[in-house]
Symmetry: none
Subunit: 195 residues, 4 copies
DNA sequence: CATGAATGAGATTTCATTCAT
DNA sequence: AATGAATGAAATCTCATTCAT
């Protein structure tokens, strides 16, 4: 029990170290040696918890994606209606990304990295199922456009990554007004237009 | 003349080789040795054309971004009206990305890479000026939402990257219908909603 | 303990290998690959003990300089008088250089190399403090000329390097008579001339 | 004639460029490419004038050594007596080294470099024959110690290199007084001591 | 479970030299 | 005579991973 406890701590220290290092210098900048040093363990120890660097990064990806989804769906109450619920999710996601910038940037970096394997990507996508359910519901109510969930995601959620990217590079800072505008654009893009 | 000609060819061969290698294995997977071999030159030769790997990648970035913009604005005729012009640009961009998948994927990878320096990024952005001009015009005509160009880009253009990403991973293939839907979402997100 | 022991041995093996290689082919001839091979380790291993080639050479410089000074001042007994003490030091230095020709040649090479940084040079100079102290004493007793220590060093000690250089190139071999002559010249150059 | 003229100019430009580059960064810092660029020729052209880098450096060594000797023996008038003549030579050498610091430093660097081959070294030494002749004369007159010319050189001339080295590193700057002291030491070391 | 030491393979880059013109 | 282009070889250094303890 004590050992297991300790192990979990160490595992998380390793994940945290990786996250931090990926943030400065990209995935390739997070060398196993640096990860080990930042987590105060031996490089060899990493391999007791993870099979390889790829495994380490993939597990971190799942960890962060799950945390992100947990934050997004914290108060998931679809019974309040599609618009309200989507708005809550959207702002929860934005809040998470603004608060946990390292995590957000890490997820962005993973989007285009060959380090994340397809299976992990799929598993990460599953964490967003509640959102897809909501959209399904919205489509049944003729509130959400009858598009594939990927398309809805591309317009409803994905643009946030670009905005965060700009924000972190000091361009186009995000304040409440801009966030409100962004949400407006997101909603307009996926909602059924009234005639 | 003959020498210069040959130089240009070699330079382009190097850029092509880089593009191709970045596509399989990411930027770090495109080692100078591999680039050299694929372009059928010695590693040392690369340094006659580019100062460093960073320079090579940045110049490739500019090259591709310019080609992309050229394709996008090929028949740029703002006098036809904002909607028509935007639609033409949008579909030209999509067509380019569908036709030149390696280029499209490369640009995506550069978005989050520390390899591209800020100056190059800014220069790349300039290639999209006609689009920003169009939006300005649209805002004057109260057709386009009064948002910052970055926000408009995040919703009007950026989602394409996600869709191409999916497409190239075999998910959610893009056909004419889906493209039409995607454009609809893009336009809805940036246009001024009618009451 | 065993591990630490082994480390020290390997560190010294690396220093010895470097010393030997610098002797044939100069500092640039001592490539990290050759050093590694001669010390029977992987090139990567060198970097566990030294930060860089510069660090390796600088540490070797300090090592050798210290050993040289230790030999020079082994029986340092200034109470025997300035002349006697200087003579003992001088011959101890000569003996060291004759016995450890690689070390002597290495120190000579370092004199003009940009590889040795100023801080290391200064630290190496400190090892000769007893000699400078002796000269100070000699100056107080009006036995040694009232010159700056650098000047005294230039004439009292530095010429040895030239003689060793010749010796190792097979020119002007050093025997006891020549050494005695050399010492005579050294002493005449720094001592106060009697009228 | 015109071609030959031009050739000589180019050859000297190459030697000058090498000298300048060796001064910043040592012999290995003077890459053939840099030498070519600084002399405004193609790298290939260097090989029309010199067989190899080694040849280039060796010829430069001879050039500089000769210039140095020319300066040293400009007013060589042994009939004025050994002391006077040696003093003139000594100060002429010092003046040369102070005026042409790049040349002086280059000669110092060559002393310990494996780049200079033995034959060249010997040839360079010949340039100093007048000095050796003077010493011979001095020995016949019982003014100069009966030591081998190498030993006399080690004490009479070689220390200058150390002093210049210090000077150029900003330590122990040389003014007229220090020079006078240095000469005093030099002379005391090689002259026959009076009883 | 944990580690410090070690490493083979490979990364980027430089260099003296040659070749085609 | 002169060159710009090209290069094989080698330089320094890094990295993910393993091994002996």
């Amino acid at each position: 029990m004590a050992l297991l406890q300790k192990s979990i701590e160490k595992r998380e220290a390793l994940l945290r170290a990786t996250l931090s290092l990926v943030n400065n210098g990209g995935i390739q900048g997070a060398s196993m040696a640096k990860v080990a040093k930042l987590a105060s363990v031996s490089p060899a120890t990493i391999y007791l918890y993870f099979e390889s660097k790829q495994d380490l990064v993939n597990q971190l990806y799942l960890n962060v994606k799950t945390a992100f989804a947990n934050a997004a769906f914290k108060n998931y109450t679809p019974e309040e209606g599609v618009y309200i619920t989507f708005k809550k999710i959207w702002f929860a996601m934005a809040a998470y990304k603004l608060k946990y910038k390292e995590e957000a940037s890490f997820l962005s970096q993973c989007d285009n990295s060959p380090m994340i394997d397809e299976a992990t990507r799929q598993e990460g996508l599953k964490a967003l199922d509640p959102l897809f359910d909501l959209w399904l519901m919205g489509q049944e109510q003729a509130v959400i456009k009858n598009f594939s969930p990927y398309l809805l995601y591309a317009y409803g959620i994905y643009p946030m990554a670009f905005l965060m990217n700009m924000e972190s590079r000091g361009i186009n800072p995000l304040n409440d007004d801009v966030l409100e505008e962004a949400f407006q654009a997101a909603w307009d893009s996926i909602r059924v237009s009234k005639l």
